[in-house]
Each structure stands twice: as structure tokens, then as C-alpha cells.
């Protein structure tokens, strides 16, 4: 059976050039990059080359990037690293960190933990398209505020936040600005030499690199506490033996992403515009998120009268992989926190699904998927007590 992958926001296939670049670092150049002998030095050279590839993708100096185990660790390190420099009792009332209600769990759950430790966190709401309100951000900042963490682009609905404006506001108030750019990289040009961003998280496996590796960008003068105590790798900011093959893969993935950026963006834009246009042919279908300020690969829809997990199951049976706007727990279905934050009712959130396309997606695939989606929705609506056609 034909298999169609439309969940690129979850993960991407590793590019063959990336795999090729990684191969020597498993059993040929296997030394520990921290060792001073030749085996070690060769590995270190590879790591530093990768650091250059990553940093030049963002137009900044190599020493501004440190490698992590992925986007989640980069987010944790940014938030806790800044917060832990002061005990909550030594800080004023706060808020100490300002974030949004639609952040990835890597940020949101870290904030919840910091709250449990006594830090004060402000969660900015978003409008019905997923954008934060800049005036509200200004009003929320106090002299106790250490950090603002707002994602570059949302992983579920693809809404792109006004990071430049957020950063300018942060800096005007002497506050640091962190952004989770895990979904933005490769779909939006990001020039960190020009943007008012102090900390930025990236992940390799979202940009056709291997899983288990990511990086945190940090401006040179910034100090933060490490998450791990150990051998003091990465200038003491991130202990743990460097994952040479993974880092090499991330470096190559960044280089390719930079090289292909224009082509990737125009190709994805063309295909998602077409996909969105065709999905609107379905009765009572609504695009979630922002109509224009959205990631070029994100197609997030809700279809009245159907339950997203059922549609997911039907498509899965036909070999089509997508994501839903809810998760099944033991007693009931949990609607996504992002969709609820937009002001969608639980029913609307539960009737939502996400397609995310990528470099390997073809128009043929979209044309293959469309009638199956339509049939599946018709099937579920024919069973649904909540569905009444307007036609």
C-alpha cells in the first residue's frame, strides 16, 4: 500500500548527505572530542566544523552555539539556566519569566516546575489566530522580570509570533529574550546577527538531521547555570561527552537547510496553498491558526461533526500519517492546550487534525490524500449524531 507521510512537524527523514557526513564518526573517528590525543582532536575538529555550519546558518559566531540532546534540553537549559542564577526568595514579586499559553510542553512544563520552586511565571494569552498581544506583553513586564520566552512559530497551528518586536520590547526593559525556534528553522530565514534574540533553541530531527541532538544559541555575554554537573564540556555550560556523529549530522542539516531555504520555502508554500485551497472544498471546514502568519508547511483544519482521532485512524489505515488536536486519556479526550488557548471549544479542538508537509512531499501525494480525506470525513459524518449538512 502507498504510504504518505504528512507529519513533518513531528519528525523528518534524515537527508542522505547528512547520513553520509555522519558515517565516519561512528567507528572511524570515534575518539572523545575532549581527549587531547589525535583520535580526540579529529573528533573535536568535526564538532567545531559542525558548530561553524550551524552558526553560519544563523549568521553568527560559532561560540554562540552549544550542543544539546535536542530542542527539549535547549529549552530547559535556557529557562532554568537563567532562572537558577537567582533563588526565588532573592527576587521580587515577579513575574520572573513571561511566556505564552501556547508554548511547546518543553517550555510550558519547565515553567510549571519553576513555579513549583517558587518562581513567578506569567502566561500570556493569544488571540484566535495564535498571536500574543504586544501591549499586554509590555504591561506584564516588571523590574523583576528576568526572561521572556515566546516561541518563534507554534508547533501545532504554525502561527509565527512577532519575535523581532518581542525582542525589542524585552531589550528596552533590559529583559532577556529566549525563543523556541524548533519549528521555524528551515522554513523562515533567521539572521541572529540582526534579531534581538538572546537565546534560541533548535532541533536537528525537524530539519532532516538525526534525532537526539539540538543546540542552544546564546549571546556571548550571557551567563546561565548548567543543567548537568560533570566534566564541564561546552565551556562549562553543558557537561556530557559530545555526541560527535549527531553533532556532525546537525551541522550538515543546517548547512543544507540554509542552502535550500529559498527553494524549500517556495516549494512548501506552493503546495500548502494548494492543499489548503482544496481542503476548503469540504463542507464546514475551517483553517485553524493564522491565515498568513503561518509556517509554510502547516495545514491545520477542523471539520465539523467528526472526531479527529477517528479520522486519524481511518487515514492511518490507508497509509497516511497525520497528527490530531487531542489525545485520548483514560476517561475522556484531552483537547490540545494550544487549540483551547485560541478560544476553540473542546468540540472544535477535538475535530481538528494537522497535516505538515516537507521536502519530500509531492503534489501527487496531496492529490492522493485529498479524496481519501474527503471520503473519510463523509464516512464519519454519516455516523455522527452531531452532523447536519447545510446543503
Amino acid at each position: 500500500m502507498k504510504q504518505v507521510y504528512m507529519d513533518y512537524a513531528a519528525s523528518t527523514p534524515v537527508d542522505s548527505d547528512v547520513i553520509k557526513s555522519m558515517m565516519p564518526y561512528f567507528s572511524k573517528t570515534y575518539g572523545n572530542p575532549s581527549s587531547t590525543h589525535k583520535h580526540g582532536r579529529l573528533a573535536l575538529q568535526a564538532v567545531e566544523h559542525a558548530r561553524k555550519q550551524v552558526s553560519s546558518c544563523f549568521n553568527v559566531d560559532p561560540e554562540t552555539f552549544l550542543f544539546t540532546s535536542g530542542g527539549t534540553e535547549a529549552d530547559n537549559l535556557a529557562l532554568k539556566g537563567i532562572a537558577f542564577q537567582h533563588l526565588p526568595k532573592d527576587l521580587g514579586k515577579g513575574p520572573h519569566i513571561i511566556t505564552s499559553t501556547i508554548e511547546h510542553p518543553a517550555v510550558l512544563q519547565t515553567c510549571k516546575q519553576l513555579e513549583a520552586y517558587g518562581y513567578s511565571i506569567a502566561y500570556l494569552p493569544v488571540d484566535e489566530t495564535g498571536l500574543i498581544d504586544l501591549d499586554q506583553l509590555k504591561e506584564t513586564i516588571t523590574e523583576d522580570t528576568q526572561l521572556i520566552s515566546i516561541m518563534y512559530a507554534n508547533n501545532e497551528i504554525g502561527t509565527i509570533e512577532p519575535v523581532e518586536k518581542i525582542g525589542n520590547i524585552a531589550h528596552k526593559h533590559n529583559v532577556l529574550f529566549h525563543t523556541d525556534a524548533v519549528q521555524a528553522v528551515g522554513k523562515i530565514p533567521i539572521d541572529l546577527s540582526k534579531l534581538p534574540i538572546d537565546l534560541l533553541s533548535i532541533s536537528s530531527h525537524k530539519i532532516y538531521g538525526p534525532k537526539g541532538v539540538g543546540a542552544l544559541y546564546h549571546t556571548k555575554d550571557i551567563t546561565f547555570d548548567p543543567l548537568f554537573q560533570g566534566g564541564g564540556h561546552e565551556q562549562g555550560k553543558r557537561s556530557g561527552t559530545l555526541n560527535t556523529p549527531g553533532i556532525v549530522g546537525l551541522g550538515k542539516a543546517c548547512e543544507l537547510s540554509q542552502k535550500r531555504l529559498k527553494k524549500d520555502i517556495s516549494q512548501l508554500e506552493q503546495m500548502s496553498d494548494y492543499f489548503i485551497k482544496r481542503l476548503f472544498e469540504i463542507e464546514s471546514s475551517t483553517l485553524n491558526g493564522h491565515p498568513t502568519k503561518r509556517l509554510v508547511n502547516n495545514i491545520h483544519f477542523r471539520f465539523k461533526g467528526i472526531e479527529g482521532n477517528a479520522l486519524h485512524s481511518l487515514l492511518d489505515e490507508k497509509g497516511i500519517s497525520i497528527a490530531t488536536g487531542s489525545a485520548c486519556s483514560s476517561k475522556k479526550i484531552q483537547a490540545s492546550h494550544v487549540l483551547l488557548a485560541l478560544g476553540l471549544t473542546p468540540e472544535e479542538a477535538i475535530s481538528s487534525i494537522r497535516f505538515t508537509i516537507g521536502r519530500l512531499t509531492t503534489k501527487e501525494e496531496i492529490d492522493y490524500v485529498l479524496p481519501i480525506v474527503k471520503e473519510s470525513i463523509n464516512h464519519l459524518r454519516s455516523i455522527s449524531p452531531l452532523w447536519k449538512s447545510n446543503k
Binding site: 482521532n309 477517528a310 485520548c328
Partner: protein, 126 residues
């Protein structure tokens, strides 16, 4: 699809039996809430204390749809007394099992059935 679903569940999900509403039911029962992700309606026709016809509608996941389909299949030709005894576990057993987090879906079907039976009994007193 979800590998944890049995072939019987898949069959009833892809080809649900007895879908729809009855125009003159002896009893009807609707349970669930769209905001919790599932709603189930079951209509029955009862003649001489035996369920002769049953239809269902479900807004919900694969397990909920399969449970509605299986429940309506099981009750046809059975007496009201027999149907009153039908439990969530009976449906799960007939479906060849359900993943743990989906067991409440079959409960929804039996609850809708019990509500339809009560509705029938109330109607028949009028």
C-alpha cells in the same frame, strides 16, 4: 492503523452496522458530551418484549464507533431482560478486546442502550 485494535474492531469501525436513526423508535437513548469527544445515540424498536430493530449514531473514536455497531448487532432479537444485563465487558469481549484507555467507549454504548430501554419502559407506561 492503530495496531492495538483487533480485526473485529476495525471491521466494525470501517463498516459499521445499523447506522442512523429510526423514524418511530420504541425508545431512544443519548449519552456523552461533544466536549469530551464522544456522543452515542441508540434507538430501539421493541415488540413483545424483544428488541427487533436497533440503530446507532456515534461521534467519537474508532472504539466508540465499533462499540455502537457491535452493541446494536448484539441486542437485536434479544429480550429486554437479556439486554438489561449487557455490560461493558460483554461488548469488549465481543470486539476481541479494546486498549485500556478505550474501554470507556464501550461503556458509552451500554449506557446509551440502558437509557433507550428506560425510555421505552417509560413510553410503554403512558
Amino acid at each position: 492503523m492503530n495496531q492495538e485494535y483487533t480485526e473485529i474492531v476495525k471491521d466494525h469501525f470501517f463498516h459499521p452496522r445499523n447506522v442512523g436513526r429510526l423514524s418511530t423508535p420504541s425508545g431512544s437513548g443519548t449519552v456523552g458530551n461533544p466536549s469530551c469527544g464522544d456522543v452515542m445515540t441508540i434507538d430501539i424498536i421493541v415488540e413483545n418484549n424483544i428488541i427487533t430493530e436497533a440503530k446507532f449514531q456515534t461521534y467519537g473514536c474508532a472504539a466508540a464507533i465499533a462499540s455502537g455497531s457491535m452493541t446494536t448487532e448484539l441486542i437485536k432479537g434479544k429480550t429486554i431482560t437479556e439486554c438489561k444485563k449487557l455490560s461493558m465487558n460483554d461488548i469488549i469481549k465481543q470486539l476481541g478486546g479494546l486498549p485500556e484507555e478505550k474501554t470507556h467507549c464501550s461503556n458509552l454504548a451500554t449506557e446509551a442502550l440502558q437509557k433507550a430501554i428506560k425510555n421505552y419502559q417509560k413510553n410503554s407506561l403512558l
